[in-house]
């Protein structure tokens, strides 16, 4: 199954943020959105997850139109990590991750297990009893990542699950960027569809099954990273001269600027 956008456009406050976009995010695959600042990546994510209704066109989640979904059932198949978090109450890390268990409520013992496992997966077990308000930016972001992982930790009876991450690695050091890629790969191997926004083209090239380039509210290119990442495209979209070579270890495209 999939998240499918059919001919969506979005006009807000006199601006055309998105124009005639068709996009399909498949379960079990990693789809990565890249593009310059203000290209419409976050708007596209918001439309694809139902946070904003498109001005035209429609979005289908597992073949049912997004607005037809029961909000609670939807939360069982679609977990979203926003760019910024407003949380400023002193929950412990465990309590924050437990909030991710609200949609499925698998019972106290199981939720506790999921919470502990999710924290361990993002290398944040040591934060369990620490207060969220006293953590560093990267630690907060890892705890939030664990929260959305906990939301789709076990398969749901409501269909294939999707994980949507808006710049998950923005606050991360090298090791945790690597960790995020591993997690994303593990989840897609379980059959979960991953959709995320990344700024680092090399990270994107290493984990994307489908790399989608957004520019000026339209899709500029999509497909495998090998196909999409060309010197011509990077110069056109990012206005940067780059050289493309192969990564010596992973053999994925490597963008050098």
């Amino acid at each position: 199954m999939s998240i499918v956008a059919k001919n969506i456009s979005l006009h807000l406050a006199g601006f055309d943020l998105l124009r005639h976009i068709d996009l399909s995010v498949e379960a079990g695959q990693v789809t990565v959105l890249v593009g310059p600042n203000g290209a419409g990546k976050s708007s596209l994510l918001k439309v694809l997850t139902g946070e904003i209704n498109p001005s035209q066109g429609s979005v289908y989640l597992n073949q049912l139109e997004l607005s037809q979904w029961d909000i609670q059932q939807k939360a069982n198949v679609l977990a979203v990590l926003p760019q910024h978090s407003e949380l400023n109450f002193p929950f412990t890390a465990s309590e924050v991750v437990e909030l991710g268990c609200i949609p499925h409520m698998s019972g106290y013992a199981k939720d506790q297990k999921i919470t502990a496992d999710a924290l361990q997966m993002v290398d944040a077990s040591y934060l369990q009893r620490r207060l969220y308000t006293q953590m560093s930016g990267g630690e907060k972001q890892r705890v939030q990542l664990a929260r959305v992982l906990a939301q789709v930790w076990s398969p749901s009876c409501f269909g294939d699950q999707f994980l949507v991450l808006d710049e998950p690695t923005a606050a991360f050091d090298l090791a945790h960027q690597q960790m995020t890629l591993d997690i994303v790969r593990q989840f897609s191997a379980r059959g979960i569809g991953v959709l995320m926004v990344l700024h680092d083209l090399n990270l994107a090239a290493r984990c994307a099954d489908n790399l989608v380039v957004v520019n000026g509210g339209v899709l500029e290119a999509w497909g495998s990273p090998e196909k999409v990442l060309t010197e011509q495209l990077i110069s056109k979209v990012f206005e940067v001269q780059a050289t493309i070579t192969r990564h010596p270890v992973t053999d994925t495209p490597l963008v050098i600027t």
């Binding site: 997850t49 946070e51 909000i71 609670q72 059932q73 939807k74 939360a75 069982n76 679609l78 977990a79 979203v80 926003p82 978090s85 407003e86 949380l87 400023n88 109450f89 002193p90 929950f91 412990t92 309590e95 924050v96 909030l99 991710g100 609200i102 949609p103 308000t133 939301q151």
Partner: protein
């Protein structure tokens, strides 16, 4: 303790007899049963309701400094009540109807001002906390001006009634007030704990809460209605009693954390205790007179608020 000193053993005896429906009319019995007991119970109920609603407001607006009196609910309620005292006071024949009308006025005033503040602060981008607090201040200023206007045109007796009422006083407690307050408390204490999980989710932010399957708009409306109900009635029956709703949830959060499943019931208990103690102090501190209770909670609460501000300063 109090203007008339009654030993504890005798109080217990009177209450036990009253429960058995076996009381003889006497001065002591009537002081205990008709003045002090309803007052203590009213203090417990009002304290519980204000504290639990303070916790709810802080959760709903994701701001630990929100409080019913800061966002204008109390101001609106006080205008509603003053209007009733001034314009409907003369029409009233029985004290029973007069009491209900003031409650009604306060309730309507509270609902209207809550809605205004909320509407002003809410745009397509969500509810802005800063706008909410500023709108609350504006509504409070308007409420204050209307109250002054009403006072200016009132005669001495009504003036005294308005100003005493605004100081917050549990002194006029009777069993009718206790029953109304008990009814409201039961509604709130039954309905609110069911919202605890949603409130926890809301602390993450409104769109995050929606992604967790929480119907944010419905819950917001429900909580705002319940807050207007609880605060409106509390203010109508006991006047303006500030800071219970602010300091109690704060203290409880420091003790057990921000999880509303524990925070709501614990705040109710602590709020009840604090207001009862404050009211008892207010009653005996300047014998043979007594202080309005609202003065005492503000005297206890305001310094605490200042300490909070100083401690928060470091985090910005």
């Amino acid at each position: 303790m109090g203007t008339v000193s009654i030993p504890l053993s005798q109080i217990i005896e009177v209450v036990v007899l009253a429960v058995r429906d076996d009381v003889e009319p006497s001065q002591i019995n009537s002081i205990v049963l008709d003045i002090r007991l309803p007052r203590v119970i009213l203090a417990l109920l009002v304290g519980a309701v204000l504290a639990v609603l303070g916790a709810v407001m802080q959760g709903l607006f994701r701001n630990p400094l929100a409080d019913p009196s800061l966002i204008g609910v109390s101001g609106g309620a006080s205008v509603g009540a003053s209007l009733m005292i001034v314009f409907a006071g003369g029409i009233m024949v029985t004290p029973l109807a007069g009491l209900s009308l003031i409650s009604l006025g306060a309730f309507i005033g509270g609902v209207i001002s809550t809605l205004v503040v909320y509407r002003v602060a809410t745009s397509s981008l969500g509810t802005s906390v800063t706008t909410m607090l500023l709108a609350g201040i504006a509504i409070g200023a308007i409420a204050g001006a209307i109250n002054s206007l009403l006072s200016y045109f009132s005669d001495n007796q009504i003036l005294r009634q308005i100003s005493l009422w605004q100081m917050g006083n549990l002194g006029g407690a009777n069993w009718l007030k206790v029953s109304i307050m008990a009814g409201v408390s039961v509604i709130l204490l039954v309905l609110l704990p069911g919202q605890a999980k949603s409130l926890n989710g809301l602390l993450l932010g409104e769109s995050e809460a929606r992604y967790l399957g929480i119907d944010v708009q419905t819950i917001k409306r429900k909580l705002i209605f319940l807050t207007a109900l609880g605060v409106g009635v509390s203010v109508a029956l006991a006047g303006l009693i500030g800071f219970v709703g602010l300091i109690i949830p704060h203290m409880i959060r420091l003790l057990i954390g921000p999880d509303h499943r524990g925070l709501l019931p614990a705040s109710a208990l602590a709020g009840a205790s604090l207001l009862m103690v404050a009211d008892s102090v207010a009653r005996v501190v300047v014998l043979p007179a007594e202080l309005p209770t609202g003065i005492l909670t503000a005297l206890l609460g305001a310094p605490f608020f200042v300490v909070l501000l100083i401690r928060q300063r470091g985090e910005f």
